[in-house]
C-alpha cells in the first residue's frame, strides 16, 4: 500500500516536473484561461442589440412617422435611414448593410382612420436565425403596443380592461446572456484543457518510447494512470480558480451557491474529462490522432451540452443522447450554482450522471490500456 503510494508519487512528481519545464504549457495554463474567458465572454453574448434597420415609408403621414419613432427609441434596432423602394431594400439586405426592414404601406394612416385592418411588413435577414427570431419578436411587440395606444386614444374616457403581463425574472434579472454564458465558457475551458492534456500525454510517451521503458518495470496500470491523472486534477483546480476569478471580478457574475459544492462537482466532472483523455490515448496511434479524436468528441459534447441551444428544443433522440454527455450535467450544475445558489438536492440527476460516466470512462481506459503489446 505504502509502496504503491510511493510509486504513484514518483509518477506524479515526474508529470509536474515535465509541465513546469514546458514553458509553452505553463503559459497556456496561466494565461489562456484569463484571455479565453474575457474574449469569449464578450463574443458569445446572445443579446440582440442595435440591429441595423432600414425603413420604407410609402405613407409619409404623422402616424407612420410615429411608428418609425417607436422603432428608433427601441434598443433592439438601430435606425440607419430610409430606403427608396424594393430595389434599394434588396440591395441593402444583400450587401448586409442592414439586417431588418420596416415597410409601411401607402394608405396606412387612412386605413387606421377608417378602422380597416392594415399591416406593416418586416423583412428580416435570416442568416443568423437566432438573432432574427429575437428581433422579430421585439418588432411585433413595438407594432402591437403602437396599435394598442391608438385604441386607447380612440376610446379615451371609456372604461377599458387593462391586462398586462408583469414579468419578473429571477436569478438573472437583467436577462444578461453574459451571466448565462460566461460560466459555460469556464466549463468548456476546463474540459478542453484536461482532456487534451491527458490524451496527448500518454500518446507522447508511446511515441518517445518511454512508455515501453515503463512497461518493463513492475509498475501497475492503476498506479501509472493515477500518477498521470492526479497532477492534472491539481492543475485543473488552479485553472478553474483563475477562470472563476475572471467571471466574478471582470464580468461581475454573481456566485450564489456553495464553493464546496462547486469543488466537489468539479472533481466528479474531472474524472469524466480525464477519463476521456486517457481513453482516447489508448486508441490513438499518434498525437495528431489523439488531438483530432478529442476535438471531435468535444465539439459534439459542447454542442449537445445545452450551452448554445437549449436541450428542450432538440429532437427527442438528440435529447436522449445528451444523457451520456457529462458536459450537460456539469454545465447545469455550474449555472444553477452561480445564478441560483441551488443546494445538492437540486442536482440528483447531475450527480448520478457524473458519478456513472466518469468511472465508466476510466474503467474502459484501464481495460484498453495494456502494458504488454499483443
Amino acid at each position: 500500500m505504502l509502496r504503491s503510494l510511493r510509486i504513484i508519487g514518483h509518477v506524479f512528481r515526474k508529470e509536474i516536473l515535465q509541465v513546469v519545464r514546458d514553458r509553452q504549457m505553463l503559459r497556456m495554463i496561466l494565461i489562456m484561461p484569463i484571455l479565453q474567458v474575457i474574449l469569449l465572454g464578450y463574443a458569445v453574448t446572445i443579446d440582440v442589440k442595435y440591429l441595423p434597420l432600414g425603413v420604407v415609408d410609402y405613407d409619409h403621414s404623422p402616424e407612420s412617422r410615429r411608428l418609425i419613432e417607436d422603432f428608433r427609441h427601441n434598443e433592439t434596432f438601430d435606425l440607419r435611414g430610409r430606403l427608396a423602394g424594393p430595389g434599394a431594400v434588396r440591395e441593402a439586405l444583400d450587401s448586409g448593410r442592414i439586417s431588418a426592414v420596416l415597410i409601411i404601406p401607402a394608405g396606412f394612416a387612412s386605413s387606421l382612420g377608417r378602422a380597416e385592418p392594415v399591416s406593416v411588413q418586416m423583412l428580416m435577414d435570416g442568416v443568423d436565425s437566432n438573432a432574427s427570431l429575437i428581433a422579430a419578436a421585439h418588432a411585433r411587440g413595438i407594432v402591437e403596443s403602437y396599435g394598442l395606444s391608438l385604441v386607447r386614444e380612440r376610446l379615451a374616457g371609456r372604461q377599458l380592461p387593462d391586462l398586462r403581463p408583469r414579468v419578473t425574472v429571477f436569478y438573472n434579472p437583467e436577462l444578461a446572456s453574459r451571466f448565462y454564458m460566461v460560466p459555460g465558457i469556464v466549463v468548456i475551458l476546463l474540459t478542453m484543457l484536461t482532456s487534451l492534456v491527458t490524451g496527448i500525454g500518454l500518446v507522447r510517451e508511446r511515441e518517445a518510447g518511454t512508455l515501453e521503458q515503463l512497461s518493463v518495470t513492475p509498475i501497475r496500470t492503476v498506479q501509472l494512470l493515477l500518477g498521470k491523472i492526479l497532477p492534472f486534477v491539481l492543475i485543473a483546480y488552479f485553472v478553474l480558480a483563475i477562470a472563476i476569478s475572471v467571471c466574478l471580478f471582470w464580468f461581475g457574475v454573481p456566485m450564489r451557491g456553495s464553493w464546496g459544492l462547486l469543488a466537489i462537482f468539479s472533481f466528479l466532472f474531472l474524472f469524466n474529462t480525464l477519463g476521456l483523455g486517457l481513453l482516447v490515448s489508448t486508441i490513438a496511434r499518434s498525437q495528431q490522432q489523439a488531438l483530432f479524436m478529442t476535438w471531435f468528441t468535444l465539439i459534439f459534447g459542447i454542442m449537445m451540452s445545452g450551452l448554445f441551444f437549449p436541450i428542450e428544443n432538440m429532437p427527442p433522440i438528440m435529447q436522449q443522447l445528451t444523457y451520456i454527455n457529462p458536459l450537460r450535467y456539469f454545465l447545469a450544475v455550474v449555472r444553477e450554482l452561480f445564478l441560483k445558489g441551488s443546494g445538492v438536492g437540486a442536482f440528483r440527476l447531475e450527480t448520478a450522471g457524473l458519478m456513472m460516466l466518469g468511472p465508466l470512462a476510466l474503467l474502459l481506459a484501464g481495460l484498453r490500456f495494456r502494458k504488454r503489446a499483443r
Binding site: 514518483h10 515535465q18 521503458q213 518493463v216 513492475p218 509498475i219 502494458k371 504488454r372
Partner: protein, 247 residues
C-alpha cells in the same frame, strides 16, 4: 524442463505478425553470469526475441523461462528482476540525469534511502556525477547511453537486456561501455546483448546468430571461428549469411 540453473531458457519460442513469422521456433539457453550476444542482419528477429523475453510482447507459441519465471504465462513477475535498454533511447529528455534515475528507481519501488544511495553509486560508476543536473536532452550520445544503462541497472537486476546499446557511439566510449559490461558479468549479472559491430561480438562469452527469425549458429566466438574456419567473427557472419545456414 531443467529451468533452475539457466538465466534464460526458451523452447520453440515463436512470434508472428499476421502471416509473417518474425521469430521462428527459437530454442536456446543462457547460463547465469554469461554475456550472451545475439547477432543478425536487420530484421532477423533480435528485437522481437528480446521483447518477448522481457514480457513486452506476447509470444505466439513456445515457452520461455527468464530467471526461472515463465514469461509466456506470467510476464509481470519477471519485471522486478530484469533490466532493459531498448534499441531506441527512451528516457525523459525534459528531465535531468538525476531526475531520470530517481524516477525509474521510484517506479521499481525502491525506498527513498536505498534509492538515493543507489543513484549516487551509479552516477559515480558511470562518471555522470558532474552532469547530474543537466537536462537529458543536452547530453552527448555517449553520456546518454551511459545514463540509459544506469537507469536499467537502478534496481540491481539479475539479468540485463541490451538492444544495440552502442549504436552511434564513438570507439572510445564503446570500449568503456564493454568494460562496464564485463564488470557486471563478473559480479554475476547475466547480460543478453545485440549488436551489429562484429568486433564487439568478441567480448561475448557465447553468441547466437539469427537469420530470418531462426537461430542458425550458437557457440563461443572461438568455437564459431574454428567451426567456420574463419579469422574473425565478421567472416563467420558473412559465411553464414552467404551459405544460408548453419552446420
Amino acid at each position: 524442463m531443467p529451468v533452475e540453473e539457466a538465466a534464460i531458457q526458451t523452447r520453440t519460442l515463436t512470434r508472428t505478425f499476421g502471416r509473417f513469422t518474425a521469430v521462428d521456433a527459437v530454442s536456446f539457453r543462457v547460463e547465469r553470469g554469461e554475456v550472451f550476444g545475439l547477432l543478425g542482419a536487420n530484421g532477423a528477429g533480435k528485437t522481437t526475441t528480446i521483447r518477448m523475453l522481457t514480457g513486452l510482447l506476447r509470444p505466439s507459441g513456445g515457452e520461455a523461462w527468464v530467471v526461472g519465471v515463465p514469461v509466456h504465462s506470467a510476464p509481470e513477475s519477471v519485471k522486478p528482476r530484469i533490466g532493459y535498454m531498448s534499441q531506441k533511447f527512451s528516457l525523459y529528455e525534459d528531465l535531468t540525469v538525476a531526475e531520470n534515475l530517481t524516477f525509474f528507481g521510484g517506479v521499481y519501488g525502491l525506498p527513498r534511502r536505498v534509492l538515493a544511495h543507489r543513484r549516487a553509486e551509479l552516477l559515480d560508476l558511470f562518471d555522470l556525477t558532474e552532469l547530474a543536473n543537466r537536462l537529458t536532452s543536452q547530453l552527448a550520445a555517449g553520456h546518454r547511453q551511459r545514463l540509459a544503462l544506469a537507469s536499467a541497472l537502478i534496481h540491481r537486476p539479475q539479468l540485463l537486456f541490451l538492444d544495440e546499446p552502442t549504436g552511434g557511439i564513438d570507439p572510445i566510449s564503446r570500449r568503456t561501455f564493454w568494460r562496464m559490461i564485463a564488470g557486471l558479468a563478473e559480479e554475476g549479472t547475466t547480460v543478453m546483448v545485440t549488436t551489429h559491430y562484429m568486433d564487439e561480438a568478441e567480448y561475448c562469452h557465447r553468441l547466437a546468430v539469427m537469420r530470418d527469425g531462426r537461430i542458425v549458429a550458437v557457440g563461443s566466438p572461438r568455437d564459431l571461428r574454428r567451426e567456420y574456419n574463419a579469422a574473425t567473427i565478421e567472416e563467420v557472419f558473412l559465411a553464414i549469411a552467404s551459405t544460408g545456414g548453419g552446420s
